[in-house]
Amino acid sequence: MAEKKMVNLTIEGRPVSVPDGTTILEAAKTAGILIPHYCYHPGLPIAGVCRMCLVEVEKAPKLAPSCATTVTEGQVVHVYSEKSLDARKGVLEMLLINHPLDCPICDQSGECELQDYTYQEGREDSRYREPKRFNPAEDFGGDVIYVPNRCILCTRCVRFMEDVAHEPTLNVSERGDRALIGKFEGRDMTHPWAANVIDLCPVGALLSKDFLNKARAWELDRASSICPNCTQGCNVIMETRENQIVRMRPRPNEEVNSFFMCDWGRLNYRWMNERNRVELPMVRRGDVFAPTTWEAAITAAARALNGKKVFVAASPMLSNEALFLLTQVMQGGTGAFRVTEGEEAPLAGVDDLALRRERAANVYGAEALGFTKTKDLLGGLKQGDVLVIAGEDLVGIDAGALTRASDIVVISSVLPEVTKSASVVLPIANFSEEEGTVTNLRGRVQRFTQARQAPGETRPSWLVLGDLLGALGKQSNFFLPSDVFARLAATNKSFAGLSYDTLGFKGLPLADAPKTAPKAPVAAGAA
């Protein structure tokens, strides 16, 4: 495909050069101007129904909706001219006629676009004195609840279900000022990707039942992360309140998840808040585990491993850094992991985006680093090997197989039920409590950051394993997870050339990543 012709125009006095076919709204973004909008969303087809993005274009007879007007050569656009501000103020006044002023009890409050734009450009008060329209809240099924009073009928949700999920569920029912979002007969929001409408909704009309009344938007701490619940590796924001994850939201990444994430991944965050954690390093004294210092525990673990054949039962939730250091600790031994499986649930409107069958973050990273995927986790454990259990919970594993091990070292955040015979327990942080990278099913290496504080004396896995390597007499001077990753990139051909700096927060594919179908932008330009 030939390079697209560039078009030059002026927006608010700033010269802008964008490819032909770009909308004024997107062009303004490149100039650092966000034109207020409700119905427009880059992941959805353009509707042009909210009239919020009206701007003045010189030599045009009337104001133009910037989301649906493409740029032309030499155009001069005024976003904040008197005429366009006046028009948008009028639109806001109309939207607020029936919008209740219940911000104090609305979950969207603080991240509501109606609040934001009214504050920026709206009237100070309403001229409307008649009673407001009232409709009761409705359970839409799935995780979605609909509060019609707050709805501004931007139809983002309708378009998402129809054009992205390809399962028409929602519609605009009734006419005129009675219009509201309704469900088609016999349909509800149980589609595995339906909860995306909650993020898409610019106001508090579509709310998550899970998050309802849990926290206010301004109380949340946010961390860029990766959804750890399947191999797709959707980019997410983990939001915490008082050190507990209360919500996960998608973070846009055109290469992986566009603007979306599935309901299963979204709601499956409670395991990261678990309280049944190992919080102190422990060594076995007789029949009990005795808490000890980190130095003593690392020394004990090194003594158990030194010069022995090691078998590692790893968890595919561990980061590339932890798995790489495990391969170093192995000293010529082998490693295996197992992965829980579920049903695949694709999102029809986006290429190569699905809730994957394999429900763990780093299955492909583990394979790239030489761990074997197996159903029989301890099958490779030979008589007399030292077993290292790394992050694996051993649920459903026959305790009898463990007797083949001459010694057991547990490096985990939760103490597995069946390992009463371990000699050392090293507590590590879980996925939400440390920094690292994971590799998704297309071989894309993506960074995740720490969202919560780790409990007790728990340390990040890369730090524990680095210390263990040092105690085994190997080179180990890792001060940051990026140091571990740099070593990984220097020693592993697939990871060559990658570093935390080049990865950024959108990730990069491995050198030998499996080829994927190129991503077509979602229904862009379709009307």
Binding site: C103, P104, I105, N213, K214, R216, E219
Partner: protein, 166 residues
């Protein structure tokens, strides 16, 4: 070396204590015979009036049905400069948002009255009340029920029509 001290000679009427003592006794005697009216307030039997804008310990107002007016919007813990309000929002039987936990630590409170000013439901108020005693520090962490049980008048804050209180 010895320190040289210069002794200043002053007139005797300046250094005599007799004059000062008599002056003091005269003031005492004046109050003794109640020349200017009584000055002492017989607290606690008698209380001095306090300003309608006095900001004392809190009170939570209730609806006609006896429920707290609070909708757990979270503005008061956000605005509180002393960070003394603990709020955990939840849902009641009717699905309305209400506070599961609402606690104010009156020891940490600096009685600025921001909570009353920010409250969109006019639920939390600082009260015209200043006599508090407890047997333990914990007793000064007022929970929702205790805040609702308070009955003292509340602070009138400022009147937007008359911001200077004239």
């Amino acid at each position: 070396m010895a320190i040289k001290v210069r002794v200043v000679e002053r007139p005797v009427e300046d250094v005599s204590y007799i004059r000062a003592t008599l002056r003091g006794m005269a003031l005492t005697a004046k109050h003794l015979f109640d020349v200017n009216g009584r000055v002492t307030t017989q607290y606690p039997d008698e209380k001095s009036p306090i300003s309608p804008r006095w900001r004392g310990t809190h009170r939570m107002l209730t609806t006609e049905t006896g429920k707290a007016k609070c909708v757990a919007c979270g503005l008061c813990p956000t605005v509180c400069p002393a960070n003394c309000i603990k709020l955990v929002p939840g849902e009641d039987e009717e699905g309305n948002r209400y506070p599961l936990v609402f606690e104010i630590d009156e020891f940490r409170c600096i009685f600025c009255g921001y909570c009353q000013e920010v409250c969109p439901e006019e639920a939390i108020h600082v009260g015209r009340h200043y006599e508090n005693s407890e047997y333990s520090r914990e007793g000064f962490v007022y929970d929702l029920q205790r805040l609702m049980d308070q009955s003292h008048p509340v602070c009138e804050m400022w009147d937007p029509e008359d911001p200077k209180g004239e």
